[in-house]
């Protein structure tokens, strides 16, 4: 009896979520987004996954696990009940015109919900999807974990490539890809570790050689990447790099020193505007200097601003710090936009005609050119982050994050180290701003909203706070993917929010968490 209640309760939750997803227009929008052409659209996949989730949750919530038929039945019931919510929605939308309130309650939604089969007949199909999805979800819970992981990897690959292709995968290609990835993942999980071990043993014998080869390959890939990718993809990579660069800066402030800074965009703004003022012949200053002169000034200006912001917030912690820095970011944006400073900064018109960097007669114009500049910036910032984090300074920051009072009583000067963190973090952002300004050739106040700060903070959290590779991965996931998946731009914020919630629940340490560095000490004790 309690199993039945559990199954219906799960169905209620899933059903409500599905109704929400339908009413924000996601289902209608994704209806012409084929995954497998002629077989499965993204909308249908979402419906199936909803029923699947209901079935899965029902089964995992059961106390006893006996009875395969019973569990499939409960799963199917849960899936069908969840879909029934959508069925009711379809009927209501068909009978009553709700569009003055719910703009997405359109006839198109009814069509999508009934899987293009019209009202009475379509409801049956919808319920059938629920039954099948729910039963599959229950079965999924009962199959071994290793197989689940491999199969979901294969499924994810089909989904991603299907979406990226735009017109979906051919059914046979989809089946082949699914099988190949699943088997590949299975092979890797069975034999991968022994291959890796073999490689490690080989590496130990030929350390300098393997390292040389490895770095040569990495360098070659990084250098040749823009030639392979083409203009659009390179510009996406550029944007990812720019965000990674700033993410690494904010990582010093938030990740290492534990100072929650929500106004990080301010330093990006300062870097960009300083570069604009110094290099653009159209700016109020009419200086027209070279980018190579401007960027160190931008860096210094941002670092100084970072330290100046740090002074008033030295005694603040946690939430208070977040709110004050948030305000600081907004103040800078409003100042830049204000009429009072219009004569200097250009107000809402911003600064235009910012030239690209010129290097010995060669002008950086294309995204491919900026790629190398951004790559250089990222490399520099990675080296700085690594060296600093692994030093007396980095340890002092982490100590402050862990326990500020004890850190102080252990001899760490809080004022000096907090200001150092703010200022080093800000300087990375200043470089980012300088490159940004010369890349887009103009700066406008509207490029520097709170959203930039939130984006950077999100990518750190998703990637893994305090972890350098994590921040770079986070930039790819949160900046790169949305750029590639332009069609989903309308749902970007809700996906962001959902992703953050899921991350906090499922993997709070991030995608690529900071590793606990294995010190020489353990090696000593192991070998002794």
């Amino acid at each position: 009896m309690s199993d039945l209640r559990q199954s219906l309760r799960t169905a209620t939750i899933v059903g409500s979520v599905m109704v929400f997803v339908a009413l924000i227009g996601a289902l209608t929008a994704f209806a012409d987004e084929p995954i497998v052409s002629g077989v499965l659209t993204l909308t249908q996949l979402i419906l199936l996954l909803g029923a699947f989730a209901a079935g899965y949750r029902t089964e995992s919530g059961r106390r006893g696990r006996e009875g395969a038929i019973l569990s499939m039945g409960l799963g199917a019931l849960s899936g069908a009940a969840a879909m029934a919510f959508l069925g009711v929605l379809a009927v209501i939308v068909d009978l009553v015109n709700l569009r003055s309130v719910l703009v997405n309650a359109t006839p198109a939604l009814v069509e999508v919900l009934t899987l293009d089969r019209g009202l009475p007949a379509g409801l049956g199909v919808l319920l059938a999807v629920g039954v099948v999805g729910g039963a599959l979800g229950a079965v999924w819970n009962r199959i071994p974990g290793w197989f689940r992981r491999e199969l979901s990897l294969g499924g994810a690959a089909v989904l991603l490539i299907g979406i990226l292709r735009g017109k979906g995968l051919d059914p046979w290609a989809a089946a082949g890809l699914l099988a190949a990835i699943t088997l590949g993942a299975y092979a890797y999980s069975s034999y991968g570790s022994s291959i890796l071990d073999g490689y490690r043993r080989f590496e130990r014998g030929n350390e300098s050689m393997t390292r040389l080869v490895l770095w040569t390959v990495v360098a070659a890939v990084l250098l040749l990447l823009p030639q392979v990718l083409g203009v659009y993809a390179t510009s996406v990579v550029d944007l990812v790099g720019l965000y990674a660069l700033m993410g690494l800066g904010l990582n010093i402030v938030v990740g290492y020193a534990g100072l929650l800074d929500l106004g990080y965009v301010a330093f990006f703004t300062i870097g960009a505007y300083v570069t604009g003022l110094l290099t653009s012949p159209a700016a109020s200053t009419h200086l027209g200097l070279s980018f190579w002169v401007a960027w160190p000034v931008a860096l210094a200006a941002a670092a100084t601003a970072g330290a100046l912001l740090g002074i008033p917030v030295l005694r603040m912690r946690g939430d208070y710090l977040a709110i004050v820095t948030l305000g600081f970011g907004e103040i800078i944006r409003i100042l830049v936009m204000s009429d009072a400073l219009k004569g200097i900064l250009g107000g809402a018109q911003g600064i235009i005609e910012i030239p690209g960097p010129v290097l010995g007669g060669f002008t950086f114009i294309k995204p491919q050119h900026f790629y190398y500049l951004i790559l250089l910036g990222c490399l520099a910032v990675v080296v700085v982050s690594r060296r600093v984090s692994d030093s007396r300074i980095g340890r002092a920051w982490v100590a402050i994050r862990e326990d500020e009072d004890v850190a102080e009583a252990t001899g760490i000067n809080l004022v000096r180290y907090k200001l150092l963190a703010f200022s080093l973090g800000a300087s990375f952002s200043g470089i980012g701003g300088a490159i940004f300004a010369s890349w887009v050739h103009a700066v406008f106040p509207n490029s520097f909203t709170l959203l930039v700060s939130i984006n950077i903070l999100s990518l750190i959290i998703v990637g893994g706070i305090g972890s350098i590779p994590g921040v770079i991965l986070g930039a790819f996931v949160l900046v790169g993917l949305p750029e590639i998946l332009r069609e989903f731009a309308d749902f970007r914020m809700i996906t962001f929010g959902a992703l953050l919630v899921v991350m906090m629940l499922a993997r709070p340490e991030g995608l690529w968490p900071a590793k606990q560095r294995r010190r020489e000490l353990s090696a000593d004790t192991l070998e002794a």
């Binding site: 060296r387 982490v398 862990e402 009072d405 850190a407 102080e408 252990t410 001899g411 150092l420 080093l424």
Partner: protein, 261 residues
């Protein structure tokens, strides 16, 4: 005898409450001095005044003849006063080795430039610091736990790591706030021997807050008793033990057995 620390009429108030009331205390070099007293007697507040968390309203505290009142905790730590806490306060997310390395902070000079460029001086300083930190972990008996996160160490080891972190700053005066709290008799015996070694081998002056009378009487050279913020007795353990005021503070009045004052 030269004083390591001398407190002169130190008073600390919180609103109307006088937590430490005109306490004077001389701590000679290379002794173990225990501060005892019932709960709420002002012992930890007195510690916090010394380590700079609180600034006393009145009085003065001299360390090697120099006033330390009004200095920030980090400056006082740099002068050579290190401490542990009643409720252990490690850096829980750092490894044991890193905890000790943070303790060494005041003896390291690496700046931004040296760190970024990996200058030879910085590199060798860092190597020496690691060596020293490992030696200290060994000294407190945590040789194999350098890579364990502070929060994952067993309770007794956390206490010892906290002492190792304090020792890493090569202090002249070590403040231990109830180091044996929560330890079993065997661990307590070990720690008593350890504290004596600190005095005898490292020449440290130790100021100890302790509730366990076995520890106090066992290892203290001197004992001071606080009661409601005032010092009511001071002297060698066997003298303080027989002091009428101390017995009264600990056992209460009405000693004639008839329940009458």
């Amino acid at each position: 005898m030269a004083s390591c620390l001398s407190a002169r009429k130190v008073t600390k108030r919180f609103g109307g409450l006088i937590a430490v009331d005109s306490v004077s205390l001389e701590i000679p070099e290379r002794v173990i001095l225990s501060v005892i007293g019932p709960n709420g007697a002002g012992k930890t507040t007195f510690f916090n005044c010394i380590s700079g968390f609180y600034t006393p309203e009145e009085g003065d505290i001299l360390y090697h003849g120099r006033s330390i009142v009004g200095y920030r905790p980090d400056s006082i730590a740099a002068m050579g006063i290190a401490r542990t806490y009643q409720n252990i306060r490690l850096f829980p997310g750092m490894t044991a080795l890193e905890n000790v390395l943070v303790g060494r902070h005041v003896h390291l000079n690496a700046g931004m430039l040296g760190t970024l460029l990996r200058l030879p001086g910085t590199v060798s300083e860092e190597e020496k610091a690691h060596e020293e930190a490992r030696r200290l972990l060994d000294f407190v008996g945590l040789a194999g736990s350098g890579d364990t996160l502070g929060r994952n160490l067993p309770y007794g080891d956390q206490r010892r790591l906290e002492i190792a972190r304090a020792l890493a700053s090569e202090p002249g005066l070590l403040l231990l706030d109830e180091p044996t709290a929560g330890m079993n008799p065997q661990e307590t015996d070990q720690l008593m021997g350890f504290i004596e070694r600190l005095r005898d081998e490292l020449g440290l002056t130790v100021l100890l807050i302790e509730h366990d009378m076995r520890v106090v009487m066992g290892i203290s050279d001197l004992v001071a008793v606080l009661h409601y913020g005032t010092k009511i007795a001071e002297g060698p353990p066997n003298v303080v033990q027989r002091d009428a005021a101390v017995i009264e503070a600990y056992l209460g009045t009405g000693g004639n057995g008839n329940g009458q004052p």
